[in-house]
Symmetry: D2
């Protein structure tokens, strides 16, 4: 997680109702979700009458000052957000939660994921005279709500949720209630917890519930939203058209290892993936197993355990983030990589190594790491990826939405192995991944969203469809032709 | 390393001579030494005529801006420093390197370690009318040099090195040369590397040599200094009274796992310590081994390997530093701990755990971690410390200089086990530690400084002696009485 | 001008079309308008294709960095704004220009003045589902434009201008044109200038035209707007219902002395007011004339000249703005006043003084100044105000909109004289003011807006009317009763 | 004052003993002295035991934060400083007061003026092994004090004051006392005031005493120092070799108009100079008198009064400081001048103008202003300077120390008149200046230091002498030859 390979999810959300330290707890909760977004953060608080907020660029500690937190002290309800900003929309105006003061009410809203019909909705709304102030999808739902003729805010919220498509969760705060909503496929996760004092919290990951010492209550399921008020908690469905398809990428890459999604602990899943990978693709000549820190260490230890090989720290990641480097020469650029990650010469020299990584996106990082290990004296480097080939772009909140970015969309494992300079390369199978996660849901892929590996998009593609189809690579087309059966279900595109 | 248990070394130094990107490389080198000090950083550059510099509070990225780095572009020589600030001297005036412009020359100097006769030297100099501008030991050597009547700068530097006592390394830059010096016991490390273009570098740890893609040349040994000029490199001894006593704490706690000190890789030493610990103190009922991230993970994997137990990620450390938290209530304070480190409930629940940590200083952190694991459902927690009992204060550059701070100075392992709520507690033996490191030096403790475990101070105590003896605890006295033979060698105190 | 007496106008606007240094010139122009607003500033630039901008809190130098200006270097068109923020809307979200990116175009807009029907327009728009992101009136016009069905942007702009009421000027930038508009009474000023290279500029005051070395072209008159494109300049009328009523307060207080409004230089007007005041209200016992720096110095020198008394610097204003003072005690608070303004003891001691000020709003400042002069030894202080009694609130862009704030709404000159501790107090007559300004316009009050002195509101009151009438003071009612004839014209309220 | 003509004095000092709001009052006092230095400021406080301080770059409001001030709340004694930084020593390390913590005491020191033997003292001290940390003269006195063998601090201070030469004042704070010292010629001013609560204050100008509502007690005279302790106030002489020679430049240019030096109010002196100038050099064809804001307005009003001409505001100075402008083209550079100062076209057009300025240093500014007036339509511009020809460099704390910078060192009034494009140019005579100030002191020039006009240096030249003589211009030599009698007195150089 939080590596530079180009996999980025858009954001983490948090909410709390009725706690005297709501802003402080939101700050702590967001801090535990920081890995989901480091380019902006915000908090909006309510005292039941007034909503006020603060947001800023950068890490939480940069975005929200202690002085500001102090001013939120008498507020009992809050939502918060950490944001990963895709290029082109890094301004402060896109940092959430968005806080709106209308003549008849105030509302704050923040969101994780991606709306795949946002552009068409936005254009239609602009055509009717609506004015948008950000390039964020989040603003779309607010416009839908305000345009709605539904009698209550909750009704308008439901109606608007039915109009948007994609993978998403929303946290919404009014002076009367805290809402949390999940997309009709539950692609993006949202969990509910309960503090000892009876306060309820919602969060993108259960780690935020744990760090606050709260008790996990339940996940919000596909097509549901939760409403928390002074009267208590209530979960409702806003649509009946649901199919559970939890993002496998949350397990593989995004989520913190101590989080649990749909009953499955992330570290345990990763370790199991590593074990499965060792079974599927052993490396008979290897002396040791090394994981790419930090997101692949669990899988690597699983691989080591299953294969009986020692698990070694052959790569060290600098724990301090070096924001920017001026890198005027090629020589310095190469050193720039080593500054973040370095090989331990005394460990890897003259050794045959199994290098476990969680995924290959562009191949650039893998190539650098293999080169680094070889430069440090490693004899053989056998790359083992604890997930299937990343062959299809994702449009549901992962920041990889073009085929051109994906090396597996264009090259076979053998070609990639050569490209990255490895002595061998193998991926976990799709079935192996599904088994390792082990959801027991009566839905395709046992309830997982594995669109990046299969091209099977459970929520459809909408605004992205035309461009996606136009740019399909030969390898993608061949895969799709081989797996026709995926593409017969309702809601999926016909290629 | 870099945890909050109260073990802090004072600083990392770096130097480079004759490279067109000297400041940028210094920045990268310091970044890899950031774990040695996070409260300030500085760089001084030279173009062979003029010395200029920049320094600032906080992490390197906060202390030195890209804009500033850019202005250093045409400078070929540089030294740099990252600083851990002990309380009471956190001002910018203490951030190094110190840069002095005299009528006859300019000099920059920075330092790692602690001078144990700095106070008496400083008072004597002030009495003669000298004026100090910082509370840093580093300033003392500059005054000694300037007061010297020696004919050359190098002679004056040598003469001054002979007057100071303790554990230290210095990096010094003049327009003509880069110097690196090590104390007469080599307590603190300093290594020399060589870039492909022929430039030489010096650094507190070899990881800084590796990240720059440079080749390790040699360590600077006890009582030596290196001089690097346009004519080449030269190593000299400034004293014959040397006894090698490399700080064992560098291996146990401070250094980065990818660094190599005196030929021994730090990760490998730690893993070996873990294996040795498993042999000395098994935990027969245990289901799994967990390490305290990040400094104890190597030892934990060694323990797991030797014991045949699975190595699990039962504790997760938040990778983002939360600078400060307002923690008005006891409840929030407890949550503050979980924000940094959290137990993975799904891993540890109903399990018997071996918890491997590198050291126990005050016991506070250990108690919290054990509690956290038990709260998360762990059945038994057997604490195994991959170093001996930390019974004596250190005065050679580790920020623990009072007996009162050390729980082992006052309590037995059994008492501590109870205090921290563990089901059992065991430490690595001193001999086990020495064997795990495995130096082959003809000196006491095979060339290690293990003063914190034995009370045997290789460089004496000087200004600290009176106060140290006055505050000896019963447990310390008993230990000393049992190990009389330690204290017969020249240079050590008689208690 | 820019004193602390509570008279604040909302903003200055600037625009330039087709100059290679457009952003830099906008910066310079705004700097000369800084007295019109110090709490925020912004610039939006266009290269004919893309609009980008920067805005920030505080003075221009704080709001816009040199680095930012540098990035605007290749842009040829720009508008800019300096803002006075009324309490309650000080956030960055209210800083102008506002920059909108729609699917079909980009627009930047900024504004000076106050829309008196903004609240009713805003509520009506919100009711239709529009979402506002600021508390600024400026946003209203953008919503009107976007809701318009008019065929072109210019048509929609015209239509929207006809819907808004009050005193205002707008600067609007699209990729094709720069627009500048003035309210139907020309209450707020806007002038056009021409650079030597043929570029056109618009600015709230002519001083911005002068500092750029440009030539004054003309004022934009009541109900007009100017359009500047690559084809040239064009002035149009968006309404025929116009009555010229230029804010007398611009001459008295707001504008820089070197600006010229409707052909009348501000310094000359002020000096003439002072002369007229000397004629109307001499001070026979006085030894010297002192002006309150800086806005009253012109009037004071006029009074001195006409009365034959020496003009002395008896009050000195600190030229450095002290942002905030912690003033824990009453004693310190009093010193806080002296920090900004101090009496020159050696000048005023034992003297009879004519103190010329431009206006009295609340009376607080006047009382302090009189006290200060007496404390410094002045024997008599005869206060002469170079404008009539400020008896009625203003709603057209001056930040005084409640009767309760105005001492003259509630007290007679005699009562005020006693209240402020003066030996005598006299105001300029309304006719004297009108004559001193000397406009030759065929309109009430010779084309001036003197609503603050007469209660005669040329643009009506709209959203403010109900509250205004409800809070009329006895003194206001009596004045209105005495001047019934004012209130018969179309567009004015009947009290 | 505080204009850009290149006349800058080095600093203002302030001190207060025994007031519960000492830091806040120091802040206010420094704010009133801000015109004496805008590039750095600092405050050191004492509670009778501990001395702590804060200093920073820029204006007082930038250098010292409110939060910092708040931390000084319980401190009763303080000194403060505003600094004008000459080029080359702008770093934070030169910002005063300097605060020293020695083993036996703590001392804070700050200074106004220039030590003309600082370089030779510094080199001598460095040769003895002393280390300097700044390029400031202020550090020299601290080294002298610490090197002294005198029995008490006060004795050492006296002894050190006798060793330094030039024009200076010092404020020194120890835990026991506040000291203020003045050079043996009283070139730089220092005044003592008394608060109502009995607290004493010292300040470079009386305006700082006035703004605090304190009572002026006395000036510190040549060769004196004041000691303020809990026991009361005491003034001592540290030398008998004194000759009063108060810097005429304080009256002409530096001091605030409301300050009084040696019993003479600055505004009154300036006005009198203007009257005298009108008598000496009338301008028969003139229509009006204009002063260059802000420092020449008093003199201009005096000229107007004496000549019977109207006093007009023909030049307007922007009250907001524009820190930096990027000025890539010549065109923009010219506009840059107008941004600071602009001519009022409607006032000056077709008029014959007397332009009163306080001094001409390089002639650059004068040329620009004359040009600006002519561009605005002025027919004739008669420049009248309210001080004599500035022919000789100053070494006593004015930042003009080379002959080459001074246009009058090289050109006659006729040549300068032509150079600046004036229709005539005249200066006040030296006698006229001395009479206008009107000191009644039994010393050369009635107790004034007029070295810039006569080349007669009352405190000698020391380190500067050789270079000064080597660069004498023909015009300077001719003046000296004509005024031989000046150069016979003790302490002056023989040219």
């Amino acid at each position: 997680m939080y590596d530079s390979k180009g996999l980025n999810e858009e954001c983490g959300v948090f909410g709390i109702w009725n706690h005297p330290e709501s802003a402080q707890l939101t700050y702590m909760g967001l801090h535990s979700l920081q890995h989901r977004g480091q380019e902006g953060a915000g908090i909006v608080c309510s005292n039941g009458e007034t909503l006020i907020g603060e947001r800023g660029l950068g890490l939480l500690t940069e975005a929200i000052s202690d002085i500001q937190l102090e001013t939120f002290k008498s507020y009992q309800h809050a939502i918060g957000h950490v944001r990963y900003a895709t290029s082109g929309n890094k301004g402060i105006e896109n940092i959430q939660p968005f806080l709106y003061h209308f003549y008849d009410m105030s509302v704050a809203v923040c969101h994780n994921g991606n709306l795949i019909n946002a552009q068409s909705l936005k254009r239609s709304l602009e055509h009717q005279g609506s004015i948008f102030h950000s390039s964020s999808d989040t603003e779309v739902i607010m416009h839908l709500i305000r345009k709605s003729k539904a009698p209550t805010f909750e009704d308008a919220f439901q109606e608007s949720l039915r109009k948007i498509k994609g993978g998403f969760t929303f946290a919404v705060l009014t002076k009367d209630a805290l809402y949390g909503a999940v997309d009709p496929n539950a692609i993006r996760p949202l969990a509910v917890g309960k503090m000892q004092n009876g306060s309820y919290i919602i969060a993108s990951e259960t780690c935020a519930i744990d760090v606050l010492g709260a008790e996990f209550v339940r996940d919000i399921h596909a097509g549901e939203y939760v409403v928390i008020t002074d009267e208590g908690i209530r979960v409702e469905s806003y649509t009946k058209h649901t199919t559970t398809a939890i993002s496998a990428m949350e397990y593989i890459y995004f989520a913190r290892p101590d989080s649990t999604i749909a009953g499955k602990n992330v570290h345990a899943v990763r370790k199991q993936s590593g074990k499965q990978l060792a079974k599927e693709s052993p490396a008979p000549t290897a002396d040791m197993v090394i994981g790419v820190p930090n997101s692949s260490l669990s899988a690597a230890s699983g691989y080591a355990e299953a294969s009986g090989l020692p698990y070694e720290m052959g790569l060290v990641k600098n724990q301090y983030v070096a924001r920017t480097f001026i890198q005027p020469t090629q020589e310095l650029r190469e050193q720039g990589v080593r500054v973040k990650l370095s090989a331990v010469k005394d460990i890897v020299q003259d050794k045959n190594i199994v290098l476990v990584d969680d995924s290959i996106v562009r191949g650039t990082t893998s190539r650098r790491i293999v080169q680094m290990l070889k430069d440090a004296g490693a004899r053989e480097v056998h790359v083992r990826i604890a997930s299937p080939e990343f062959m299809f772009p994702s449009f549901y909140g992962i920041d990889v939405s073009t085929t051109a970015e994906l090396i597996s969309a264009n090259k076979s494992p053998e070609e990639i192995s050569e490209h990255i300079g490895a002595d061998s390369l193998a991926y976990l199978s799709v079935d192996g991944l599904i088994d390792s996660i082990g959801l027991e849901v009566d839905a395709p892929y046992s309830g997982l969203c594995v669109e990046s590996f299969t091209g099977d998009y459970p929520a459809g593609l909408y605004d992205y469809e035309e461009d996606y189809i136009a740019h399909l690579s030969d390898r993608q087309k061949a895969y799709i032709a081989d797996h026709k059966q995926f593409f017969d279900r309702e809601g999926n595109l016909n290629v």
